[in-house]
Symmetry: C2
Subunit: 281 residues, 2 copies
């Protein structure tokens, strides 16, 4: 059992996530993608630490998240870990309050406030986050408005949970918030019970998650059909029992410019759960 | 200019050091060595953070170093960054007190106390550090005695500076302490003034340093003659203007089990200097 604090384990989860390879379409130990290099993720994880520490102290989820994102953004690659931090901050808060369980995590996110929502919108000022057009029936201000949306948030009394619940159907990270982090805990369990280097277990969990659900980050950038096709190709790669097949899949996604970022976020959260439950590095 | 604290920059320096490739003989982004994997260094850098934060606060150099080493050791690979931390802790202290200059750093190490020396010896209890037999004329307790040497240290009134001065001739990290960190600052300058990704600049600095001085970690494990031969081979690789030559050199050192750890420590310290002076990631 490691002696690291929840904030330290969350930082290590960010680092192990990017080091795990092969993670088709994503930056990993062996691949960069245009404009986004491995070391940008290292700097992002270093910069996020203070915000993650805040989540273990008395800082509310929104404030800790905004600080983590501000620190993460102190590198030249752009957005590296926005979605991962949106999962990690409430999970770190949950772990620091007591038991890290789906129910306890649900309690943390359901307790978020209007101030947390305002901080979440302000976080978009620190970094350029890929955001798709929301479906017309979504009843929350567009996050692309950043701090300009805060007045409306406050007027309408929307909490951060309310805001994320609006996009839970089209955003895998928001879905985790609303459903009690089922994928994060499942990946955590898969990693804890696996064998071999933890980065190999995380890479397997990435492929498995990519094979189970369309990646919403891919859907935002390339459409639902592409996201579905990536899922099917991930199934073939996962079930083919041939590392060369996975490598070929990884190469092809990089060539096509397809980056399953939401799945990577879920793996980072799962690594955190695994580390908190005693997974060894 | 980044907004990171000295402790954060030191942590990032540890991460960038291990990510830089090729670094012949060392664990890097593309190579593990038997028993020691990339992710052990990630966990080491995460665990070291609290001790590095201590060095920026009121914690004395020895205490901060011992804490950093204890945290670093919370992974299963063994010693990953003991020497690097022995350079980084006084440099972080220097930066947090004001200007990061060789003179100021000299002031910090010359102000170390008997308590600092005691903490240094205790640090060896946390991790198995490769230590060679010291020359017979060295007049300080063998570090392999760990905490058992503390009584003698206190009785004789040896400061940490005194202790390291004794092995400055045979240990490159101790040499840096006594001489005002000349190689660390030189590497820092080389990295700040270089171009391209910072990890490429650090890899070049590693090869250049290996070509300039025999690595004392290699000398301890394999003898002076081997350390000298590695230096000459590094000169050929550096001056050959052929990346394939450097790769071949890297492969051959891994095959021979030769690990120029002291040179890696100096590069980590140099990366810290570079980051403090505004090098961008």
């Amino acid at each position: 059992m490691n002696r690291r604090s929840p904030a330290a384990n969350a930082q290590l989860a960010l680092l192990l996530e990017v080091a795990s390879t092969p993670k088709p379409g994503n930056v990993d130990r062996r691949r960069d993608i245009p404009g986004l290099r491995f070391e940008h993720f290292l700097a992002g994880a270093v910069g996020a630490r203070d915000g993650l520490e805040g989540a273990t102290a008395d800082e509310p989820v929104g404030e800790a998240f905004e600080r983590a994102v501000a620190g993460m953004s102190d590198q030249s690659g752009g957005n590296t870990q926005f979605g991962a931090l949106l999962l990690l901050v409430p999970l770190v808060k949950t772990a620091s309050l007591g038991e890290l369980s789906p129910d306890a995590a649900r309690g943390v996110v359901e307790s978020t406030t209007v101030d947390d929502a305002a901080a979440f919108y302000r976080a978009f000022e620190h970094v350029d986050v890929a955001v798709g057009d929301l479906p017309e029936d979504v009843d929350a201000p567009d996050v692309r408005r950043g701090a300009a949306a805060v007045a409306e948030i406050e007027e309408r009394g929307l909490t951060l949970y309310d805001v994320l619940a609006e996009s839970a159907d089209v955003d895998g990270v928001a879905g985790e918030w609303v459903e009690g982090f089922p994928r994060s805990f499942r990946v955590g369990e898969d990693i804890v019970t696996g064998t071999g280097p933890i980065t190999d277990r995380a890479a397997w969990a990435f492929l498995d998650q990519l094979a189970r659900e369309p990646d919403t980050h891919v859907a935002k950038g390339h459409g639902e059909a592409v996201a579905h096709s990536v899922m099917v190709r991930a199934q073939e790669a996962r079930d083919g029992n041939d590392p060369a097949l996975v490598e070929a899949f990884a190469e092809s996604l990089v060539e096509e410019g397809i980056n399953p970022g939401t799945t990577a976020d879920v793996v980072a959260a799962g690594l955190f759960v695994a580390l908190e439950r005693g997974a060894e590095v």
